[in-house]
């Protein structure tokens, strides 16, 4: 039996209104690559942050080599040999490789001066070990994504880490680079390091990982040896829940085609995307992060400019050039990041809800407060926003209610097409169900809905049809009754419909 280097027991982490993690056990052993599997929002990132001292657990304990420890800061975790390599490399792009690697634990001479000579030498050794052909004095900004990742790994090695956590390390790498990464991972494993490998991609997990632990909705679901499991088993653990409760999809009468997209392309993001959308339909868009789904929606709404393709709205070819025009044509777009793109936090609820239509709500530039009030109340109440009154600022509301404000704002424009990008990301279960119920009702009334989601159950539970994208291309289109989680996941990871992975 391999030695247990890090063990988490009964870990819980609560945020206001959300249980991000609850009753979580996680055990890491030396010389093992351990896959941490779960959907987006399952709590993987939160767990990583607890392991590296960024967050403090609300409850539970962490054991390092059998001794109970507390990581109050990421520095504590680093001292204890636990290091994370993040999804988006967090580096100082204007500094050199050496400076980045030794940031926070500079080597000093006896005099107290920084010993750059020694640091540069160490860096050269590390880069050599990783077989990287980079000078220690190169600026980070001059490196490619893959090379940056390698430097991150070198940084982890520089502190002599025993536990190396890699958060979706391959998401930005080419196939060849992935192979190099595997080589390094195996090398580290042979040296007796413990590696936590977070990934969405089953081929990777089966290629490189020895052991896996599955999370769902912030809870520990199960674990096992990769070699003794199948993709099907793991997918079931990832998804498995009663779909009907959370997703009160009503039967809706599918009407005529309202939107027809043909060969839509945006170089670097997606190409040749075609689909159509009917009145009363909920069209789900599934794919991994970076599959290009949001970019397709942004392009339809006129935020990004398409390079090719045709968008036909209700028979009229739409050359959308800006969001204002798209709005006028009856398209509403609820973006993914509501803090960045959705609600205006310093603004009152009322002002937020009426913002998209202040043109219509004003006479000669002067706002009609009565009509504003009517709109606010109608849609605010419809969305069941919980707030003291409509004059409080959006930042006083919980995340779920903020999302409702954004939904209300767009519904108030009386759209023909509602595009929802990750409508329930990061909100609590109760609000989630309310949003689902609402989406279902709106579709029932004849609204055409596009729902982009990375949550498989949501996609399966809510959609009439599902468009699945992988690396900028539509890989599959399934009807509600023919879709199941295996098929969808496989299509989303670039494996053709029905293909089975061994």
């Amino acid at each position: 039996m391999k030695d247990i280097v890090l063990q988490l027991k009964d870990i819980a982490k609560y945020f206001p209104g959300i249980k991000a993690l609850d009753k979580v056990d996680f055990t890491i052993r030396t010389g093992e690559v351990h896959a941490l599997i779960g959907e987006n929002g399952a709590g993987k990132s939160t767990l990583v942050k607890i392991m590296t001292g960024v967050y403090q657990p609300t409850r539970g304990s962490i054991f390092r080599n059998g001794k109970s420890v507390q990581f109050k800061t990421s520095h504590d975790a680093q001292e204890a040999g636990v290091v994370a390599i993040h999804q988006e490399a967090s580096m100082f792009s204007e500094l050199t490789v050496t400076e980045n690697i030794f940031m926070g634990h500079h080597l000093k001479k006896a005099s107290g001066m920084l010993d750059w000579k020694a640091m540069t030498r160490h860096t050269a050794d590390l880069l050599n070990k990783l077989e990287l052909d980079i000078s220690p004095d190169t600026l980070i900004k001059n490196l490619g994504t893959a090379q940056r990742h390698m430097v991150e790994i070198a940084k982890a090695l520089s502190v002599d880490a025993e536990v190396v956590i890699m958060d979706e390390p391959t998401s930005a790498l080419s196939l060849k680079e992935v192979e190099e990464l595997y080589k390094i991972v195996r090398q580290l494993k042979n040296e007796g390091k413990a590696i936590v490998f977070i990934s969405h991609k089953f081929d990777e997990i089966f290629e490189i990982c020895d052991y896996f632990t599955v999370f769902r909705d912030g809870q520990y679901i199960g674990e096992g040896e990769v070699a003794k499991s199948s993709i099907d088993e793991i997918v079931k653990m990832m998804v498995g829940r009663s779909l009907n409760q959370m997703y009160p999809k009503k039967e809706a009468k599918i009407g005529e085609t309202i939107l027809d997209v043909e060969g839509l392309s945006l170089p670097g993001y997606f190409s040749d995307v075609s689909f159509n959308l009917h009145k009363g339909e909920i069209l789900g868009f599934f794919g991994l992060v970076g599959a290009g789904r949001s970019e397709v929606m942004r392009t339809i709404f006129g935020i990004d400019k398409k390079s090719a393709g045709k968008i036909t709205l209700a028979g009229e070819v739409l050359e959308t050039t800006n969001p204002g025009l798209a709005m006028k044509k009856g398209i509403a777009y609820v973006p993914e990041d509501r803090q960045e793109q959705g609600a205006i936090l310093e603004m009152s609820l009322s002002h937020n809800i009426t913002l998209p239509q202040i043109n219509d709500l004003s006479d000669f530039g002067v706002l009609n407060s009565k009509r504003e009030k009517n709109v606010t109340e109608e849609f605010g109440n419809k969305m069941e926003i919980k707030a003291a009154n409509w004059k409080v600022n959006a930042n006083t509301l919980s995340g779920g209610n903020q999302q409702k404000v954004v939904l209300a704002k767009w519904l108030a424009t009386n759209p023909q097409i509602l595009i929802l990008d990750e409508p329930t990301k990061g909100i609590d279960v109760a609000t989630k169900a309310a949003v689902h119920k609402f989406i279902s009702e709106m579709a029932g009334e004849g609204l055409a809905v596009i729902m982009v989601s990375s949550e498989l159950p949501e996609i399966l539970g809510m959609s009439d049809r599902i468009v699945i994208m992988h690396e900028g291309k539509v890989t599959s289109l399934m009807n509600r009754d023919e879709a199941d989680s295996d098929k969808v996941i496989l299509a989303a990871t670039g494996h053709g419909q029905g293909d089975r992975h061994e």
């Binding site: 969001p323 959705g342 310093e346 913002l355």
Partner: protein, 328 residues
């Protein structure tokens, strides 16, 4: 603390009222005549120009920008109008005021165009135009002043005299306040300013044009500076090249004191007026409290900083209470 007072303190402007009261009491303890009605009227009148210009500054700061050229804009438009008055004494005062506003508007529009269409950050734009407009003032005046004997009585009377028991200048400020209050609160454009300042991306998504808003706020700020230029030169019966030197900092200070977020998106006109009055009180109190002139500037800075810190602290405490209340 009792409930009622707590409720009052949840409002940032009222925090400032409280701080202003403390300041007034402190000054009055040293100079009892300070609280006399006549003196209060004098302070408000003295602050009138600051209120006008700071309300323009408010718009710019609400979008997340800053206008450092307000002092220079005041100087230029004030000089231009004073010279017009000097060389065409027959030109009606109404025309002079309108021309002042027009000149300010043009200078502001230049700032706005650089920021909105040239994509130059506001700080850099207005840092440049601060020198440019001041330089233009020198060029225009050839370094000469326009003083009382070169101005017409009618011109000097614009801010002087009384109407409805209040000095004219104060009335001008009240009119500006009412128009700006209405504009910010009840017009589409006013709402768009908050939207752009609060969240550029979200504003873009709902079709609000950031360019239009940026151009508009600088133009309005310029127009108000133009009006202020007329008022300033008429009030002191002197148009000099150093008019309103450093005034931009006072207007920014008035905004910050009034609770306007320099990051944009948050702040009210009433807050700014309160902030301006607070500064006005300090400006008028310092001469009467018998302090060494060497201390005056330091004390002014200290009081302003202390007021801002106190205001922020009070607000943070209120926020905590608000959050606690929500969780319950």
């Amino acid at each position: 603390m009792n409930k009622k007072l707590e409720k009052i303190l949840q409002n940032r402007e009222l925090n400032l009222v409280l701080l202003t009261a403390v300041l007034l009491i402190a000054v009055t303890l040293r100079a009892p005549s300070f609280l006399a009605l006549k003196n209060i009227e004098r302070i408000v009148n003295d602050t009138a120009i600051l209120i006008m210009v700071a309300s323009g500054q408010l718009l710019v700061i609400l979008t997340g920008g800053i206008d450092l050229s307000v002092g220079a804009t005041i100087a230029f438009s004030g000089m231009a109008v004073s010279m017009l008055n000097q060389y065409n004494p027959s030109m009606p005062v109404v025309v002079l005021i309108l021309l002042g506003v027009l000149i300010g508007t043009l200078l502001g529009a230049f700032n706005g165009a650089c920021v909105a269409f040239g994509k130059v950050p506001p700080v850099i734009t207005t840092l440049g135009t601060m020198s440019i407009f001041r330089g233009f003032t020198f060029v225009l005046s050839k370094g000469q002043w326009v003083t009382a004997h070169e101005m017409t009585e009618a011109y000097m009377n614009i801010p002087k005299g009384k109407m409805l028991l209040l000095p004219n200048l104060t009335i001008w400020a009240i009119v500006v306040f009412i128009i700006m209050f209405y504009f910010i609160r009840y017009t589409r454009s006013g709402r768009e300013i908050y939207a752009v300042g609060g969240n550029k991306t979200a504003a873009h998504f709902v079709g609000v044009s950031e360019k239009k808003v940026n151009f508009m706020v600088f133009t309005i700020a310029g127009a108000l500076c133009g009006l202020a230029g007329v008022m300033w030169t008429a009030r002191y019966a002197a148009a000099v090249n150093e008019t309103a030197l450093g005034f931009e900092l006072q207007t920014v200070a008035a905004c910050v004191l009034g609770g306007v977020s320099l990051a944009g998106g948050a702040g009210t006109l009433t807050g700014v007026v309160m902030g301006a009055l607070f500064l006005g009180i300090i400006n008028n109190a310092l001469p009467v409290v018998n302090l060494s002139p060497f201390f005056q500037m330091g004390i002014q800075g200290f009081v302003v900083l202390a007021a801002i810190v106190a205001n922020v602290l009070m607000e943070q405490r209120n926020d905590k209470k608000l959050l606690a209340g929500r969780r319950r």
